[in-house]
Symmetry: C2
Subunit: 242 residues, 2 copies
């Protein structure tokens, strides 16, 4: 199979293009797809800043591109959007599709160390300066986190902390750009799974500027994301000094 | 089954709510769903103008609500959006699901006269002044139209003309509001099926103001619709003098 990405679809939107690519990933050991939104370009060689959108549980590379409407602001700001898929596909690992919050389609951005899940190597290696995500990496102190981290990384909680945003915050230095988080207070996963207040506390302890906005009545859906995505695109554009 | 619509989901978006309802339709003889977007309301008894979105082939009541982003402009303009489903569902009429462009999921807004398809009674009866659609009613002089009209209405072309926008244009009087049409010139159905130029000609012959905009490079997808939907919402708001 070909590891060079080949274009499998292209649709114009807001003057730019949503393009979907397919390639064989030697890292994951399977064929993968991803979407890129290219804003209108002043010249064929123009270089754009890039934002990565990391989707969550049950998503593919398609949800954000089809439902968020982020391309509107990305078009006016001149930002490329990249939406990768959320897990390896088609490996037929036993139990990979037994539950919706683990295995296939579960957006845990980590490199598994347990033999059974060794193909789950989905951290991003990138030279881009920004990696926005529509939700915090799943925290270790919630049911989702404990299930996933135990299976992917084994029983040692010290290993889990490498992928826990709240734990990692104690190790960061010199973060000057504000971290913007929107959280619907009608999100059914808010109280027990997402724990954004713990992350906010960790940011404050580390003197990292954070703006956590509780949005009254909004749930976990793309209707919520579409409502606030423009704020996030503009936020990143300002931070990138576009 | 209950013919009074019952709410089956509600999600906040742009300050308003996407609500999906289910009801038993005595007219169609089956259970149906539809979506309504309610913009933010200044008072519980506030009355809003309504726009109906009539989806096309292969769609349900969900596509427009999930993918168009029309709620943004509907929220600021104070317009209710209603997205009905495109056909009866679950009747198990022989052959209803044999092809993607006829039967289940095919958005032909007509009252069938042929016995086999007698449940396909999906014209809208409404007191609203505007019925925008993302595509012209399928014309009779194209392959889609000839297949559908023959099956639903029988062989007489005179019966077909009742549902053909281009034919109907010769009968209208006193249309003062401009009809706005966007058409992607990269739409694979444009040359053979949609025939917007024929409709434009009919409007001009009838002195009906029409603005047909050919949009270079755009296809038939919701990426195209999302790009231009704001123009259409604002267009209707102006015509309604909101």
């Amino acid at each position: 199979m070909e590891s060079t990405p080949s274009e499998i679809s292209s649709s114009k939107m807001f003057g730019g293009y949503n393009k979907r690519y397919k390639h064989f990933s030697p890292t994951l050991g399977c064929s993968m797809t991803f979407y890129i939104y290219f804003p209108p370009s002043p010249s064929p060689s123009h270089k754009f800043p890039v934002l990565y959108w990391l989707s969550g549980l049950s998503c593919t590379d398609e949800n954000f591109i089809a439902k968020s409407g982020a391309q509107r602001a990305a078009s006016t700001e001149g930002i490329v959007l990249i939406a990768p898929d959320t897990s390896p596909r088609g490996l037929n690992v036993e139990g990979e599709a037994d539950s919706w919050d683990f295995g296939v389609g579960a957006g845990f951005y980590l490199n598994a160390t347990q033999e059974k899940w060794k193909n789950w190597r989905i951290t991003l290696t990138s030279t881009s300066r920004y990696l926005p995500s529509h939700q915090l990496p799943i925290p270790i102190n919630c049911p989702w986190g404990q299930k996933a981290f135990t299976n992917y990384l084994g029983p040692s909680k010290a290993d889990w902390e490498e992928y826990d945003a709240t734990s990692l915050m104690s190790k960061v230095r010199d973060v000057s750009a504000t971290i913007l988080i929107d959280q619907g207070d009608g999100d059914k996963f808010f109280p027990d799974q997402l724990l954004p207040n713990k992350f906010e506390e960790a940011c404050r302890s580390a003197n990292v500027p954070v703006l956590l906005r509780l949005q009254p009545g909004y749930d976990h859906s793309y209707f919520f994301i579409a409502t606030f995505i423009d704020d996030h695109i503009h936020h990143h554009a300002r931070a990138l000094k576009l």
